[in-house]
């Protein structure tokens, strides 16, 4: 199964790579349990940095689309097709949206929400602590 990436596209390369691997899995080009190329092989074939491919693999592993089995290599996760239905980015956006709406209902301004959000992300103490 061949994958294609466009280095001039606006979408980041690691995201294109993730999308292409997911597309290959859902189209049946590669099946659960199939071995994937090593980071080095894929990076060389696509003329990309190893870190770009490693990042895509890391995120796909987090999403349980692929699984790394030590020195044996990287494989398509047995539940890859089911796990691909779950869009983590959409879930995160939904959760934050709910929280922001709740804050607004309590009367918090966007600026206050932004500051609180930034402080939490940077592990800084907030007003309530």
């Amino acid at each position: 199964m061949e994958i294609v990436i466009d280095i001039d596209a606006e979408e980041p390369l690691f995201a294109q790579l993730m999308a292409e691997i997911k597309r290959a899995v859902s189209a049946g080009g590669i099946n659960p349990g199939d071995a994937l190329p090593s980071i080095r092989q894929l990076a060389n074939d696509l003329n990309l940095n190893n870190k770009t491919v490693a990042k895509a693999y890391q995120l796909l592993e987090r999403d349980k689309v692929i699984i790394t089995k030590g020195y044996r290599g990287t494989f398509v996760h047995p539940d890859a097709r089911k796990n691909m239905d779950f869009d983590l980015n959409a879930w995160v956006a939904g959760q934050i949206n709910q929280t922001i709406n709740a804050c607004r209902e309590k009367g918090a301004t966007d600026s206050e929400i932004r500051i609180a959000f930034a402080n939490i992300m940077q592990n800084k103490p907030t007003a309530g602590e």
């Binding site: 199964m1 994958i3 294609v4 990436i5 466009d6 060389n44 074939d45």
Partner: protein, 302 residues
């Protein structure tokens, strides 16, 4: 003479081997090479496939025809030199030294025969470099299948290469004696042969997992190229070990008179394997040349 053979019989074998070397290296394979290049130039011209010729000048086709003619003439000249050497040997009643050493002449002539191919290899390297420099494609493709050594060569061949290397090592060291200090030559011989095999392994790994030499090349064509190179190197490794075993055996059993023949046959084996497998596995007729077409150009065959 070894095996109670007459001197004439030994000389007939010697001349036959030397003639074979002249024919293969200075006539047959140069012809195959020229036919391969002509096929590409005639069927995939610069105008329609500009990406294939990054350094092509205005008279590229004429220049290439001239270079191919020169390549043919140089090889013909080397073949004539070989035939003259043979004629001189026949005329002077030459007999190979029964204690060996005459293989050096066979090797010198082989190196002379190899010069035109070496120049071609340098040109090929420059061509790949120019292709990589000119590569500006935004769209890049890759196969999602992992590549392994045994996708390109049978496990039996790899096993045979390992066994032959081990057999040579054990035999050579047994002949040199396990219970006495080895001379410098033993360390050099073992080091060079081991180093050669390690170099082959490194080249194979470089081709299987490394970057493509030609960035435009289609994945399936690259796989064929890797298969050809892997097979050539594994079979060459077997050849080196067998050649060393036979030369050690020749020294051991007073068969040194056959050293020039063995050397010539070994050189021919290397060339047969090198060119034969490359031309047979990576057939230029099967390659996808559409990758070198200018964007938006129409397929003349469509």
């Amino acid at each position: 003479m070894p095996f109670n053979m007459s001197e004439t019989a030994v000389m007939v074998i010697y001349y036959a081997a030397f003639l074979g070397q002249i024919y293969l290296l200075s006539h047959y394979f140069p012809g195959r090479f020229i036919a391969r290049v002509r096929y590409v130039i005639d069927n995939f011209p610069v105008k329609e496939y500009p990406k294939l010729y990054p350094n092509a000048g205005p008279n590229f086709a004429a220049n290439m025809a001239g270079k191919l003619k020169l390549f043919r003439r140089v090889n013909n000249g080397i073949a004539i030199i070989g035939l003259l050497i043979l004629a001189g040997m026949l005329g002077s009643g030459y007999r190979p030294d029964p204690l060996g050493g005459d293989e050096i002449f066979v090797m010198f002539y082989f190196f002379l025969q190899f010069i035109p191919f070496f120049i071609v290899a340098v040109k090929e390297h420059k061509q790949y470099k120019a292709l990589r420099a000119a590569f500006k494609e935004a769209r890049r493709t890759a196969d999602l299948r992992p590549r392994h050594l045994f996708d390109f060569v049978s496990p039996v061949a790899v096993f045979a290469a390992l066994v032959c290397f081990g057999a040579w090592l054990v035999y050579y060291l047994t002949v040199k004696g396990w219970d006495q200090p080895w001379e410098e030559e033993v360390y050099i011989s073992v080091g060079m042969t081991t180093g050669m095999n390690l170099l082959y392994a490194w080249i194979i790994a470089r081709f299987i997992y490394g970057k493509k030499l030609d960035p435009y090349q289609a994945s399936k064509d690259y796989m064929k190229t890797v298969e050809a190179i892997t097979k050539v190197l594994v079979y060459s490794s077997i050849g080196i070990s067998l050649f060393h075993i036979t030369t050690v055996a020749a020294d051991e059993y007073a068969l040194e008179a056959f050293d020039p023949v063995l050397t010539s046959l070994y050189m021919q084996y290397c060339v047969l394997i090198g060119f034969g497998v490359m031309l047979g596995t990576a057939k230029v007729e099967d390659f996808d040349f559409s990758v070198y077409r200018e964007e938006g150009a129409t397929d003349p065959g469509a």
